[in-house]
């Protein structure tokens, strides 16, 4: 039996970049900061680095805890640590907060040097490709020419995919979990409703709410509530909440009656208390725009012709946001190009959120795959 433990106390680091970053949208970031964390030790030939890409609301804080806050456990702590499937005794693991984020990397909350005010609505549109370009610059600075693996779930998986296509020589294994090659119309529709909730909030002030000392709380809260519905499955909701009543009887009011309402309110309030509305807007647009086949007349097979990595792909049967059929699109396009690929389609009740959990088979598959990666 393998023993595993938490990586323990960790601290974020900050890297400053003064070379302008030309964004896909046409915008330019003249200079920017990336906040990141690392776990484990980079080996002498820098061949054991693994990049973990975060999803919509994630951050660079992948594993461990901060010294001043024992509750601040990293969002993928169950995966990353000594003896864990992504074993920090073997690998040097990096988490990076994406540009446009609100956890320390340059984003709409940061000061725009041109105006000495927060960027707000003027922060350039960011794309998955921009994030990956910025990751590559941090890798350069850390002396990592090629990653042993780049992995991520959901939007993080899209970044891992982009890495394998546009930096094909710089990644040996692409690990894409609970993701899709691009969003469906339905996915975009959900994102647009979430954005409209924020954009129409009177406290939004065209994205410059910082100057007014307010936050579009109600819009952000609605966006998160909607998001949470799509992260769970019908089964998971039925099991967790069913039709259970908060007060044991129907109250005939618009306050909380059902437990599911209470849950969504709680999640919405919590999120609106710390997440930045502009980051939410930019990140959902980055999701919508991502389409590796866009420059290939929609032909995914052709788009994947550039890939050189080996792939690990996983989907979850109850994920209706990015259902298994979307992962199979990836799979077949990769096989068309003769790529090595391992694909698991796991029965896990938790819907899209399954990728964050430690389901036995899921973690066994990850552990097995990581154990075969040579460093």
């Amino acid at each position: 039996m393998t023993t595993s433990a938490s990586i323990g106390v960790v601290a974020p680091q900050r890297a400053r970049f003064d070379t302008p970053l030309a964004m896909k949208s046409g915008g330019v970031l003249p200079a920017y900061d990336l906040v990141y964390e690392t776990y484990g030790t980079l080996n002498s030939d820098a061949s054991n680095a693994v990049l973990v890409c975060h999803a919509l609301s994630g951050s660079h804080h992948v594993a461990g805890v901060y010294a001043d806050d024992p509750k601040s456990v990293g969002w993928w702590d169950n995966l990353v640590g000594p003896g864990k499937p992504l074993d920090t005794n073997k690998f040097f693991v990096i988490g990076i907060n994406n540009l446009g984020g609100c956890y320390g990397s340059s984003g709409p909350k940061s000061i725009n040097p041109a105006t000495n005010k927060p960027w707000g609505a003027d922060f350039p549109f960011v794309t998955v490709e921009d994030w990956v370009d910025s990751h590559a610059r941090l890798a350069d600075r850390l002396g990592i020419r090629q990653f042993a693996a780049v992995l991520g779930g959901s939007l993080g998986g899209m970044q891992a995919l982009d890495w394998t296509l546009r930096y094909a020589d710089r990644v040996r294994h692409g690990m894409i979990i609970a993701a899709a090659p691009k969003l469906s119309a339905e996915n975009i529709a959900f994102n647009e409703v979430a954005r409209q909730a924020i954009l129409t909030d009177p406290e939004f002030h065209g994205g410059n709410y910082y100057e007014h000392g307010v936050v579009p709380v109600s819009g952000l809260r609605l966006a998160r509530m909607l998001g949470h519905i799509t992260y769970l499955s019908d089964d998971a909701m039925a099991e967790k909440f069913g039709r259970r009543l908060r007060h044991g009887e129907h109250k005939f009011h618009f306050g909380v009656d059902f437990e599911i309402e209470s849950y969504l309110h709680y999640q919405g309030d919590k999120f609106a208390g710390f997440f930045d509305a502009n980051t939410y807007l930019l990140t959902t647009k980055a999701l919508d725009y991502f389409d590796p086949a866009y420059d290939y007349d929609g032909n995914l097979q052709e788009a994947f012709g550039r890939a050189k990595a080996k792939f690990f792909i996983t989907s979850f049967t109850t994920d209706w946001r990015f259902p298994p059929a979307r992962s199979r699109e990836l799979l077949f396009a990769l096989m068309h190009n003769g790529r090595d690929v391992a694909y698991s389609e796991l029965e896990c009740a938790a819907g899209h959120d399954s990728f964050l959990l430690d389901d036995t088979h899921y973690h066994a598959a990850l552990r097995a795959y990581f154990s075969n990666i040579e460093v």
Binding site: L331, S344, L346, E347, H361, A365, A368, Y369
Partner: protein
């Protein structure tokens, strides 16, 4: 599906003989990936396996095999025509409901197909039935109430299906344990292996 330990997988040797070096191979119901590992070692094939059992999928990943967790009852939707030189189904055909459909799919996706299956016409099984019981043997270790096998057919039945569907039998080898049977295999062979084409 049937019980053959790895060192008695004489069907591996036959299948290996039919595969030329560097071929693209798809193994349906690939289990722990033993056959693919064998073909990679012996023939340097580019191989993928399909398996629905998650424990076996993990075993394949551990062995470094390209495994795809897909339920074969869904057919091979998504695979391209003639994507593989050989599509193999080793000792699993009797565990699939949609026998007819999967054979058609194998010969769509593969230039040729290789199937092996337990022959229910084997004389010992006939004796068992004559004595009033469903056969239980080394190769069919399950009781009727717990068997994963869902289709019970003889070599003669299988060949009739091939004839009906216009499938050419390119080669056939039959065994009783590890002994090759050439005379009346439908009666004397417990396992049959076929190489099929269009």
């Amino acid at each position: 599906m049937v019980n053959l330990t790895q060192d008695s997988r004489f069907d591996f040797d036959i299948i290996t003989r039919w595969i030329t070096p560097g071929e693209r191979v798809l193994d349906l119901g690939c289990g722990d990936g033993d056959l693919l590992a064998h073909l990679i070692a012996e023939r340097g094939v580019k191989g993928y396996g399909i398996e629905r059992d998650v424990e076996r999928v993990v075993a394949c990943i551990q062995a470094g095999i390209n495994v795809l967790q897909i339920d074969l009852e869904q057919g091979l939707a998504g695979f391209e025509d003639a994507q593989f030189d050989h599509v193999i189904m080793s000792l699993s055909l009797q565990a699939v409901h949609n026998t007819d459909g999967i054979l058609t799919e194998m010969l769509r996706v593969g230039r040729e197909a290789v199937v092996s299956f337990p022959n229910f016409g084997y004389w010992r099984h006939r004796v068992s039935i004559a004595e009033g019981h469903m056969p239980v043997s080394d190769i069919l270790p399950y009781e009727w109430y717990n068997t994963p096998n869902v289709r019970f057919f003889t070599m003669a039945d299988f060949e009739l299906l091939c004839q009906k569907r216009g499938i050419s039998i390119l080669q056939r080898v039959a065994f009783d344990e590890d002994r090759e049977i050439t005379t009346d295999p439908n009666n004397y062979a417990s396992v049959a292996i076929y190489r099929l084409g269009r």
